[in-house]
Amino acid sequence: MTSPSDRPHADPGFFKRIRLSILSDPVIPHTDLERKRYLFRNLILHFRPATVPVDTLRFSLTWGLGGMAAVLVLLQIGTGVLLKFAYEPTPAAAYASIQSLVAGVPFGRLIRNMHHWCAHLLVLVVLLHMLRVFFTGAFHPPRQFNWVIGLTLFCFVLIANFSGYLLPWDQLAYWAVTVSTGMLEYVPWFGFAVQKLIRGGPDIGPATLRIFFAVHTAVVPILLFLLMGFHFWRVRKAGGLVIPHAPGEASLDPPEKVPTLPDLLLRETVVALALIAVVILLAIFFDAPLDDPANPGLSPNPTKAPWYFAGLQELLLHLHPLFAVFIVPLVAAAALLTLPYLRYETDTGGVWFASRTGRIAGIVAASVALVITPVLILLDDWLTHPGNRFSDIPAVIGDGLIPFVFLLAAIALIYRMLRRRFSASRNETIQAVFIFLLAAFIIMTIIGVWFRGAGMKLVWP
């Protein structure tokens, strides 16, 4: 290795000339100037800013979540490419190829487990990242559109997970995908056509596996990677992250800055290494599940959707399908997309939960949802007990329209009460409503995953 004190003009030898033709800077920069030059001239690092506001380095601002998501995506690409050499995407061979991967290929089990745990962690981390951005108000201008890009990235992560779910072609995969794609039948007008397109026919079969494999290993990775670049670029164009400050306290203008290398990059590396260690530990000690080979003639009991769709499946048990799988998700998606474009009184960027009022309102909203959701689920379970299910009201109205309007009315009531009675700002009120719905959805997911047993009956786990 060359030392930085080498004079570049002292006629270099053959191998050094080759090295200098690749990288003319010292391998390890020592002075601030050298670091700055290094950052500018390195292909991978040059899209980072030279300096960053020192306050954005605070771990409690980002929890390193965006960086973690990027690291997980890279791990998925690495392990995924390896898995591609071992996997055969046909119904006859898929299951056996996983079996021989796990049993026969050196490190096959480790790589598969890593891919599995990274996938679940990715959904979780991206979700938490989204919540972080929302709760620190990092969606206000100029970051509005990046919120939209982020939502699209989240969709891609879900598609990647879901398409990968089918590939082992075991009972778990086969029936989870059957149930999940079965939900599409309830989407009016185009649901049936979309379902047929996704499955490559009326049923799950060889065509479905081919399609899912192509989507999982080509379509999603390419789109995800491109869009990630766009996402990062918009962060930089917005002048970096929101600068955190306590409620009511103004942030310094211009902010105090520190060089990206080493201050930011070292922190990112630490987070990345810790995360990779966690993934490897998970992969060593917990195996990715592999059920019996897929049997289209025998549905296991219970058959559940993957955990990130469990909330939706829980909703499907209570609401008419038209509302559960179409109207509610559509309204939710529209609400999420329009969040940054609503009119707010104040830019709360950088303040956790907008303000003190915002925090209190949020805690109250979460507590209310925590009580109301299980009560409503138990009530509906008792009301719809076999025998007293059928009534004179059509199901679309009784199980769909009435609960939906009731939910909208409840939201409107909460909104009005917070605005009038507690004179909360629009930021705080919308945040409280968001927390209310989020808490309800989380509880439905928990119930769907752990509290539903055979025949999807409520059980104690």
Binding site: W175, G201, A207, N301
Partner: protein, 177 residues
């Protein structure tokens, strides 16, 4: 001289430029449309040339007298159940639950199809006994030729309720009438 040229441009070239711009945009749209057309026709699901098992073909279920009244016989390779009702009529009932597509088994002791996924229940005619299933189990058309039951699994009949005309009768079954 230059002045004259400018006049000429504004008078003649601008409408032409406008026209050409529109033409380019129009061509761009055509190219885009073609791309969409090519990609969608490439990706459109095709009927596989060889149906897997018996499913998708006409299945010969067997002679009418081979099925006792009030019985359900499974045809796993054809993905359906042949139900013979009390009056001797036949129904070829799809095994796919109309709720989310799980495979429903026939539970003899309950005399019902009960879905293991969300516990929808259907009677021997495929009609919903217990929700969440929104409609009766699908049917396949039955023809009875020379007292032999044939089921066309290539064509699925969706129905919103059970009606007597859905039931197929053989010669001897019809006599009861």
């Amino acid at each position: 001289m230059p002045k004259k040229r400018v006049e000429k441009e504004t008078a003649v070239a601008l409408p032409r430029r406008n026209f050409l711009t529109k033409l380019w945009f129009g061509l761009g749209l055509v190219v885009f449309g073609e791309l969409v057309w090519i990609v969608t026709s490439f990706l459109r699901p095709r009927r596989s040339p060889t149906p897997e098992g018996d499913f998708g073909a006409i299945v010969t279920a067997g002679p009418v007298e081979g099925f006792t009244q009030n019985s359900v016989t499974a045809f796993p390779r054809g993905h359906f159940y042949l139900a013979r009702l009390e009056d001797g009529g036949f129904l070829a009932i799809s095994r796919r639950c109309t709720h989310l597509g799980c495979t429903v088994p026939w539970i003899t002791e309950d005399q019902q199809f009960i879905c293991p996924c969300h516990s929808s229940a259907f009677d021997i005619r495929g009609a919903v006994v217990r929700s969440p299933a929104p409609r009766p189990l699908d049917l396949y058309p039955i023809t009875i030729e020379n007292e032999v039951v044939l089921v066309d699994t290539g064509r699925t009949i969706r129905r919103s309720e059970f009606r007597p005309e859905q039931v197929a009768f053989g010669q001897r079954g019809a006599k009861k009438g």
